[in-house]
């Protein structure tokens, strides 16, 4: 499939399901509420749309695009289809950064503190990962290093929860870590937009170099690729795209693993051509999963988005590990 037609098809699907998702939820809305957005005197339906559904959709799109794009770039950079922001511990590191900001009340000091703490956490996570498992690492080393980064971030997060002053703060952290878009407001979207969009731009900038890197580091350098600059861009792009999202929506796992894997054959296995489609596909998957959440969970059963993606993603990951073992002895 030509990259252009693939991107067009994904964008079309994204538009369609984004539109549908606006009408998906507890309150039944009709098309009239949509036209109310442009009127002078909005009714209740229009308010639901404007203040609940639209920001929730916008945040879902951003978070999904960040996770999908970061997954595609990490996989291309490490030449390993098992790399995913969640699996290798980037999301957990971002979560720890955000929990730290919550714990010390930094988010009360200035509004951007929480998302920034997420970005810094994510950047430390990627940097640590690259430090222990360089791009030469085998799939096993990468996954083991990811386990280590995950465990460290998880332990530090648990420590913060352990030290939390009261059960309400504890519950807040715990629910937030499960990953959800349900409390999204334009405020959150406002924080996430500059971070995630700049992350996406940096990730797209990395894309062409990933093709050259598929022949190995020395070949890539011989083709004029500046690897240290690329590594820096991968760290920064992943940290911004994932960290910004985790800080406002919690950890939504496996999007960065599943989406590039499904789209890879459609891009002729070219890692550079996979980045933009993975962003669109990631956004699509999160929007779809969030619609499913709204359809499945009733008033008495609040399902979390991160729980659903993990329930779908973890068996998929297992299958991918099995499949990759069959290819490489």
């Amino acid at each position: 499939m030509k990259p252009f037609s693939l991107n067009l098809a994904l964008a079309g699907l994204l538009l369609l399901f984004s539109g549908l998702s606006l009408f998906c939820g507890n309150a039944a809305l009709d098309l009239a509420s949509l036209t109310g957005l442009f009127g002078q005197d909005p009714g209740l339906d229009t308010l639901i749309l404007q203040e609940i559904r639209l920001p929730r959709l916008a945040l879902g799109l951003l978070v999904g695009a960040g996770l999908g794009g970061a997954g595609a770039v990490l996989q291309g950079f490490l030449r390993n289809p098992l790399a995913d922001p969640g699996v290798v511990g980037v999301s957990a590191s971002a979560g720890f950064g955000a929990v730290l900001a919550l714990y010390f009340g930094l988010s009360g000091l200035f509004a951007l503190a929480l998302p920034l703490a997420g970005v810094i956490g994510a950047a430390s996570g990627v940097a640590l990962l690259f430090l222990i498992a360089g791009p030469r690492a085998s799939a096993t080393t990468l996954i083991l290093s990811g386990v280590a980064v995950n465990a460290l971030a998880g332990a530090l997060t648990a420590l913060m929860m352990n030290l939390s002053p009261n059960p309400w703060a504890l519950a807040e952290i715990a629910y937030w870590l499960m990953g959800s878009l349900k409390d999204a407001s334009w405020n959150e979207v406002g924080f996430a937009v500059p971070l995630i969009l700049s992350g996406l731009a940096i990730l797209l900038f990395c894309a062409p170099a990933l093709d050259a890197l598929s022949l190995g580091e020395d070949a890539a350098r011989s083709l004029g690729i500046d690897l240290s600059r690329l590594r820096l861009a991968v760290v920064a792009g992943t940290a911004l795209a994932v960290g910004g999202g985790v800080a406002v929506a919690g950890a939504i796992g496996f999007v960065g693993l599943v989406v590039p894997h499904i789209l890879r054959p459609l891009t002729g296995y070219r890692p550079g051509a996979l980045v933009l489609p993975s962003m669109l596909g990631g956004a699509l998957l999160v929007v779809l999963a969030d619609m499913a959440i709204r359809l499945l969970s009733g008033p008495g059963l609040p399902l979390y988005l991160g729980v659903l993606t993990a329930l779908i993603g973890a068996p998929f990951f297992l299958w991918l590990v099995r499949a990759s073992q069959k290819v490489a002895p």
């Binding site: 190995g216 020395d218 011989s222 083709l223």
Partner: protein, 255 residues
Amino acid sequence: MTTLSLQDLRFGYGERRLIDGLDLDFPAAGLTALVGPNGAGKSTCLKLAAGLLEPATGHVSLDGVHLSTLSPRERARRIGYLPPDGRSAWPMTVEAVVALGRVPWRKPLRQLSPEDQTAIEAAMEQTGVAALADRRVDSLSSGEQARVLIARTLAGEGDVLVLDEPTAALDIHHQLVVMDMLKQAATSGRHVLLAVHALDLAARYADRVIVLANGKVRADGPPGQALSEAVVSEVFGIRAPGGIQPTPLRELAPD
């Protein structure tokens, strides 16, 4: 005509000297084989020549211009490099892999230019992989994969080609096929510098053979002179009465 020259090169990690004072001039195009026992410094020498390693002392220059003053992109346009295990991590198509040779020439966010396309097609023709253009590289035999990787290096249109063991892991038939291609590239006016273990291949194809031992040049000259009985017994520890001679082999028919 491009001239390549390596002057007073030294390189090492810590105490270990891998390259210990190399002075080599390549005034005219041709096929040069770099031979030597394992650990002699062949790969390091090739990486220095390709500008992928920064020497501790000395410099590599192209037409009198130091490589270190060129941008990575400019350098990449002039020197093609094939690493010892250059296979693609992803099962892309043959054409997509060959197209990677054009990376130093491409502008950001642009499609392949007509010049890129011409270079890619010419490289695939020269290496006989044009018919495989749409095949996935993981479906090819080792011999076909080796040709695709050489096509990738040729597509960059550099005047200098540096290849680390392009014939490793190939059967004798494909060794000859690959060496014929490289010889042809050298005849058409390129500097082809390659590391090779099979001494008879060096004797058969090279215009010039450089024998490396312990990071130093032990012998340098036409195959008959550089691969003499004395040099071979000293460097490789084998007896080769009369020196290394090309084995009288000929391809039966192209595959």
